[in-house]
Symmetry: C2
Subunit: 806 residues, 2 copies
């Protein structure tokens, strides 16, 4: 089942034990050139071609970078180039061990792409000196396979997401092959371990292929890796269990390794061709065992065997900079020079410092170069989504707060018709929650992606389905990121509490976007859209573990230029917000919306106006009639908005002449100062809404402190009193969730009485009544297990009705 | 290799197709009783014994709960009880599909534990009525296997952590067997997928055993599961790849399933005994293929086959409440009644409602009952750690800010000696970062836990090592949680940025702690201690993807009663804080500390005093001499503290009579109001430190907004100006990281000049000088690639020196 090549290199030398076959002679030279340039980047700031013996001032004072994984990445790069040329392949290369940044930078320079992107880093001696100096240097480039690296869609700084990114890139790209190196360190992470099962979500007819290359170089920072230390049988059993047919290449002698890896690659690509041809000719998309390669090679391959009597090559000590004192220790400097000269630079670069023709001409041409593949600059090949008019899905209203709808269900109809119009560029992702989140309508026009066994009674499963459901937030996020980075569009719907599972992945994507904003040749990609639903206020049934609205808090710490947060209070505002987000570029949009039947407030015209402003006074719910109010009631989120409106009615029942202003917030970042966020309201506008000195009672969907964090610079901040989720909850009724966290109508009304000075002397009766009602509620639900009918059946009647009737 | 039992149950009836063997007669009755009680919990609020036909008012108005997984969990419970009794086993039961909450609650009641913990839920008809009503009911109990559930150490609301928890419980408990049900939904998550490799970290001599039971019931909320839809060969190959020998039990006919599962369990336990005996008798701890069971049974087993013409049993529709209208639809009510009567309650409960003797006597006794196993109430069997005196590890100082030490390296020595004194109750956990985080000293006295292949040149690996390193933050966290929940102690050291990987796991653990604080019989467990190092200010080498100090922001949203955050500025304060945290109970302690050589400020006595107060004026660095200062410089974190002190010297150089007060914060929650956090400073004390009206320039380790979120209620909040990480960073020098984020000494000094009114008219020259110095720095690092010597060699000289020399 496996081909296995043993062999070993003579220590401390890149001379193969046996001569390299003539077939691989140039390829080996290319590999040596890439390795030479990689070492140069880590160590040198001058004398790039070693035209003179290395002197201290040629060495960087701070040595930063990772050598260990790099020669393996370069080896694979060289061989991928061979097959790209031979087979005219459209291929991108995802490097899981992203700390091997010097590798793809070297490759990009050899391919000429680097100098095209960054003309000052020219293909000559001066350019090579710049290439070396800039690496991990102030004002230069990062040490990882960063957005700055041509051909990269995967920074790899945080390990675990390479396979998910690779699959995301392959979906709906039938002619693309994504070579994905999985480091054996990365393979220990949860997200990576889960991602192997992506094999059950690939359609060989419509999707491209992922070729995983498990790179067993044996060591992490300081430890061996698990997969390198289990028996071969066990490892191959594991990989077959993931749905793969492993092809093994192991050894260290370059000559033997070239032969073996080339054969392995040919075998894997032949198999991929067979699979795809069969599927595309016969329509039989049954899941095959996809080929993959296991490459077992020494960590720090071709580097020094030992330094100061300690083994380096083939050890965890090769992980970063193999020896650190080359600037000050002439012995180390000598080792470095010998190491670099072992690649025979005089055979690799001409007098000007440019790669010699055999190397320069070895790589594929134009867009076939992996460093220039347009899929790795997805914005450049992006096609806009085709939209139906979201206004056509509007919920009709008899008036504000009288009709009920399920916001996400309405959105589902809009998404369904986007799905129809964009059959190859739009997907939806959910951790087994698409229907739970009430987006069922999309399944009228497509299926769930599924290429494992299907049995009678299964509901809408097919290999070419476009709703991707797997019980892994990590895979959903990773697939979507890969899909977006290659220029397509999508939406991730998730239970609000559990989106924290991907906090760290969000971080990395937000950082990617922020960085690409500063890179001229990177074209804007579609935004990453989250729909967070099954939210905290309606997790009364699953209980405390399902209640956490803190993802927003996490998101707002990232650069304002890339993050947006929306809390549409009803279906029509959700439609408007979703349309906006799906059209946007380079953002992470977080939309929090309910799925349960809730009151609807705005007809479509009002919704569009409100969402365009992002924040505004709801005049129909206010009694200040354009004058200075006694109190401002702020609200953001569907349930807080409903409770706020109910509080208005309660208050007017007691105090008919109370001047209340209701301000609803859809675009949360409007609360922040315009110096802090591009959506921030100027101070005067904020003051016009929230006054400069009146009490503000703000009912917020999430943790209350977030509102303070956003508004602390505001004139009236000292008067802003926020109610939100204060980590009180259990399995109870929906309204009791509000009561436990004191965001319910009665507590809000009481807050107003306690804070509006003129109410205090006259409010004692009202206050008592509110507390009695809360106690009554408490008794009622303990007996009946559900909320009182007057709570569940409450509808907005409006100030006029209330004031005249009371 | 596998035993496989086919068979099918007659539809819509719990009557087995073949009679239950007499051997399993009572066991089957126990199972039926548990199922009956589970259905009752989901549906009924009265008439628990069905003494009269079901009427609408017997049915809960809101039906909340999950049936699908429950009968399988109950089946396993019944069989585990059989082997516990037969073999006198010490066993705890971790249920991955924690939504099957009715199951263990039913079991606990049958075992009598429930009534012991909650006397009002007695073992009689009235108690049964309470048992039913309280489930998922206001004022009652949650729907999951929550802290309220006797015998639980795993809530299971967020899926993915069952195996890691199970292994955590088994470590250092040689006589314990942890049965861990892994749901096939949960198995799709990343953390679970990674956790299978825990097999490489178990010592059969010293540790207990985990018996994974993969429960293939085929469906999630709305989808089939991946593992249930791949070929058996592929599945078994996968499980063998994880290091297991799978034993398969598949079918639905109870009689056949009892026989097959009992045989499988006996086989698995025999194998575990063999493995452990061999290891313990011969000392050969080589990793075996550990047995595991694959249980394939229908989702919603023994429930209604179909309702309203739609299949329920064996379908995803059985996941939650199989049919919802039993209160109002007499047809549904009839199905419910038939379903419950199919368990033959009259055979299971006597006239009083108590379990009949055959059932009551079936379970193991006392602490052998899984619902009463003391390991599942870890605080009850907790042994205090034995400590050396942390003062003995003090770094000696010539004076504040003149000597250098690596704080975490010093801590490592203290931890080493804790490790020696607590050879079976203390472990350390790190994602391949123990040495990178400079805690190497612990490896002088123990090894890294490793039970995979060991080869020459490996560094401190052994099956009985106590430093647990795997490149998965999820596994580290899950193992540690399991270890703590069973009453042991530990420390998780992690790169600061990547601890976000476990944000969601932290949430769940914090919620667990908060809930157990309100459960009388739950005894306090050791705190979960994070050491976050390799922090944002020294990720100049790895770059932007490694820079994120936001875990603190995430943590402070959880209940104040369970979270603590410490930022010791040097080694001696770190020692004091670590000692305190390791002694504490029921908290999550987050310690952020540097690993790089940094200046040391406090001798041990001062450190202890400072840490005890948690916040305080550093008089030796201040020039206000007890009077009202011109400006307060606040700082928290090692690098911000250094920059603040350097700013003091710069400022005094220009303005020798400036009255500066330096306030250092170790215990971050001191900043918050005492009404918000138990560590919060009373308003008067805060005002005494930070004044009520003077400018405060606060240099903070993390995102600056957090300080505003903590202090917005403070009198002087409007004058607090915070510098921190503002998401600016790349691969650069350490000091440039500060400059990019404007937290460096020059920006801080400039902030003071800009904010102290009396300096404005006289500060122009100083301001210009500061900007020039920043420009000079910028030029210098772009040329030299390292910080200017006067920055890297800066030491504290003190106000006196400065003021006299300028």
């Amino acid at each position: 089942m496996q081909s296995r090549t043993a062999g070993s290199r003579t220590a401390a030398s890149s001379e193969p034990a046996v001569p390299v076959d003539s077939e691989f002679h140039d390829l080996d030279a290319w590999w040596r050139a890439a390795n030479y340039l990689s070492v140069g980047q880590i160590y040198l700031m001058d004398n790039p071609l070693l035209r003179e013996p290395l002197r201290p001032e040629h060495i960087k004072p701070r040595l930063l970078g990772h050598w260990g994984t790099t020669p393996g990445l370069n080896f694979i790069y060289a061989h991928l180039n061979r097959v790209i040329t031979a087979r005219d392949l459209d291929m991108v290369y995802v490097m899981g061990p992203g700390h091997g940044g010097p590798g793809p930078v070297a490759a990009g320079w050899l391919e000429g792409t680097y100098s095209e992107r960054y003309p000052q880093v020219s293909q000559d001696e001066a350019g090579m000196a710049r290439l070396f100096t800039q690496f991990s240097f102030p004002g230069g480039i990062p040490s990882h396979v960063a957005p700055e690296t041509p051909g990269s869609i995967h920074e790899g700084g945080e390990l675990g997401y390479s396979l998910a990114h690779a699959y995301g890139a392959a979906f709906d790209n039938p002619d693309l092959i994504v070579a994905a190196v999985v480091g054996d360190g990365e393979a220990e992470t949860g997200p990576l371990a889960a991602s192997w099962h992506s094999t059950k979500f690939v359609d060989p007819q419509r999707d491209g292929a992922v070729l995983p290359i498990l790179h067993l170089n044996g060591y992490k920072i300081a430890n061996p890796t698990v997969l390198a230390r289990i028996d071969d049988d066990e490892l191959h059993s594991l990989l077959r269990g993931y749905g793969h047919e492993p092809i093994v290449v192991a050894g260290s002698d370059p000559a033997q390794m070239h032969r073996a890896f080339a054969a392995a690659l040919d075998r894997a690509l032949n198999r991929i061709s067979e699979i795809q041809e069969r599927a595309r000719e016969t329509g039989d998309t049954a899941r095959p065992a996809w080929p993959m390669i296991v490459l077992q090679s020494p960590k720090g391959w071709t580097g020094p065997a030992e330094v100061d009597g300690t083994p380096i090559e083939g050890s965890w000590r090769a992980h970063q900079v193999p020896f650190g004192n080359a600037r000050n220790d002439s012995g180390h400097r000598k080792i470095l020079e010998e190491w670099m000269r072992s690649y025979r630079p005089e055979e690799l670069f001409d007098d000007t410092g440019a790669p010699v023709p055999t190397i320069r001409d070895l790589h594929p041409e134009g867009a076939r170069r992996m460093s220039a593949n347009p899929h790795a600059n997805g914005g450049a090949i992006l096609r806009d989504l085709v939209f139906p008019d979201f206004r056509d899905y509007a919920v009709g209203l008899g008036g504000p707060g009288t009709d009920t709808a399920e916001a996400t269900r309405v959105l589902g109809e809009f998404l369904r018709d986007i799905m129809v119009r964009n059959p190859t560029t739009f997907r939806m992702f959910a951790p087994d929650e698409n229907n739970s989140n009430r987006l069922d309508a999309v399944l009228e026009v497509t299926d769930r992606t599924w290429n494992a066994r299907i049995v009678p009674g299964d509901d809408r499963l097919a290999p070419d389905g476009r709703v991707m459901e797997v019980l892994s937030e990590h895979m959903c996020q990773g697939w979507l990121e890969g899909y977006l980075l290659t220029g397509r569009h999508g939406l991730f719907s998730c239970y609000e509490a559990f989106v924290h599972v991907v906090d760290s992945m969000f971080n990395q994507h937000a950082k990617w976007l922020r960085t690409t904003n500063r890179i001229e040749w990177r074209q804007p990609i579609p935004s990453l859209n989250y729909l967070l639903t099954s939210h905290v206020w309606r997790q009364d049934h699953n209980g405390f573990s399902h209640q956490d609205p803190g993802f927003i808090d996490h998101v707002v710490n990232k650069k304002a230029e890339v993050i947006r947060v929306y809390l549409p209070p009803d279906a029509n505002t959700l439609l408007s917000v979703a349309d906006h987000c799906l059209r946007s570029r380079q953002y992470v949009n977080v939309i929090v919306a309910g799925k349960q039947p809730e009151l609807q407030y705005l007809d479509m015209d009002s919704a569009v106006t409100h969402c365009t402003k992002g924040i505004g006074i709801w005049e129909w719910a206010s009694t200040d009639a354009g004058t200075e109010p006694d109190v401002v009631l702020g609200c953001a989120g569907d349930v807080p908005t409903k409770e706020t409106l109910a509080a208005v009615e309660i208050l007017l029942g007691f105090f008919p002449d109370l001047k209340i202003r209701v301000v609803n917030v859809v675009d949360l970042m409007r609360l922040q100062d315009d110096r802090e966020h591009p959506h921030g309201l100027p101070a005067a506008d904020f003051d016009a809404l929230f006054t400069t000195d009146k009490p503000v009672i703000f009912a917020f969907h999430g943790y209350p402190w977030l509102i303070h964090r956003l508004t602390y610079r505001r004139t009236n901040h000292d008067n802003i009193h926020v109610r939100g989720y204060i980590e009180e909850g259990t399995t109870t009724t929906p309204f009791d969730m509000c009561v436990l966290n004191r965001i319910d109508r009665f507590h809000l009304a009481k807050d107003v009485i306690d804070r509006v000075e003129r109410l205090r002397p006259i409010g004692a009766h009202a206050r008592e009544h509110l507390l009695d009602t809360l106690a009554e509620h408490h008794r009622y639900i303990r007996i009946h297990g559900e909320d009182m009918p007057e709570i569940t059946q409450w509808q907005w009647r409006g100030p006029e009705t209330v004031t005249t009737s009371s």
